[in-house]
Symmetry: C2
Subunit: 230 residues, 2 copies
Amino acid sequence: MIGAFKSTNQRARVVAEGIATAIHEHRLAPGMKLIEDEVGEIYGVSRTIVRSALQSLSHEKLVEIEPNRGAFVARPSVRDAREVFEARALLEPRTAHSAATRTTPADIELLKRHIEEEHAALDAEEVGRALRLSGNFHIEIARIANQATIAAFIGQLVARSSLIIALYWRRRNALCESHAHHALLDALARNEADRAEELMTSHLVDLVSLLDLTEPPVEPTSLKEALGAE
Amino acid sequence: MIGAFKSTNQRARVVAEGIATAIHEHRLAPGMKLIEDEVGEIYGVSRTIVRSALQSLSHEKLVEIEPNRGAFVARPSVRDAREVFEARALLEPRTAHSAATRTTPADIELLKRHIEEEHAALDAEEVGRALRLSGNFHIEIARIANQATIAAFIGQLVARSSLIIALYWRRRNALCESHAHHALLDALARNEADRAEELMTSHLVDLVSLLDLTEPPVEPTSLKEALGAE
DNA sequence: GAGGCAGGGATTGTATACAATGCATCCGAT
DNA sequence: ATCGGATGCATTGTATACAATCCCTGCCTC
């Protein structure tokens, strides 16, 4: 949605976005193997396209490609998790600041609709969809800041965050976020840049505090994966 | 050098790094066309590998792939240039701060050697090589900060900066940088984090001030490119 | 001449064939 | 029974063949 790249080949893009969305919505769990033939069959394309898509996803660190072994949904380590949120803490507050100075009523409408959709998804028990929309809220703010380069970085970090949440989230309640997003929306609507920056900072701190980053490894997808690999 | 990724296929990596280095050293000019067959012949690989490499480079925005038209060395717009240095201003000073708190004598030795190599290259009139080494200095600092995720972002931004410099640099003197790098090295050696952060901030400001970002388009590589495309 | 259109060569997009590698299973030896 | 190695299947890595697209050139019309 955010990146209207024309660069990568159209068909590979469809496949990559399909897989990415599935990862964002936690339909594809970390560690899951992505067999080229299977994916190709699903999307009706040859392995050439699938490979291109998988390489693209591996560049965004949503997928890990192990030479001669195949592609797996990435399993960020505890260290990865810390790094991702460290990077977000560096980028997003200042970006929210910038965004607040430029937010238009149209932007506010869009963000409002995002939040509403998120609530609707939560009410419908579609946790995965709610999670993806929650991430999109952050990406939308980066877009408002009108810095495509930084927005692309944030987009990647948000995507990885989804995997991190899948692995290290303490509980199942994503509700807590709604309040923070509402407050951010308010600050943006009033063009209160400093407050938006502070809110984003504390929002990210809150997010990290909801992760359990103590256990070094992570719950394996299957015994086979746990014992067979690495 | 910085990314010892095992992810992408070995052969494609060699090709991608070869092209990337050539871009960093300004042997490949912005806008230049990269024909798959030609590249494949040079490296002794099939188009499959070349395509993989080009897609990888396009993800790093060193190459632009225009559907059905081919791959070209990227030509960052004035806006891209501003965005890249805006992102660097956001990431690098804080990263230098972090790095300064962790810099070891071994790191200092490495950085010193970097600077020396850069000087040697300049003395030998190898401007391209000096430029690449100058960029590596920044990447090395990010590495010292021990944040791989942020370091990867900075690496990408430094690489793009090389293209931006090729297009928008006012003069030919890269000498000015040496002083700033020396000062940074000193701050890191003494573990003076705040000073390192300030030095990095002003260094980046200096860099931008040496760019001429007034002219909307850029000097074309060839008449054909200038008149034929877009 | 200027503009438009058709043909041909060059280049990219995609699928597929074949080689290389890894993984599981089975067998035999100890 | 457990370990070691060999065999076969599943999957990935690479090259190549063919189709689609683009771009250049030359011709034709006005």
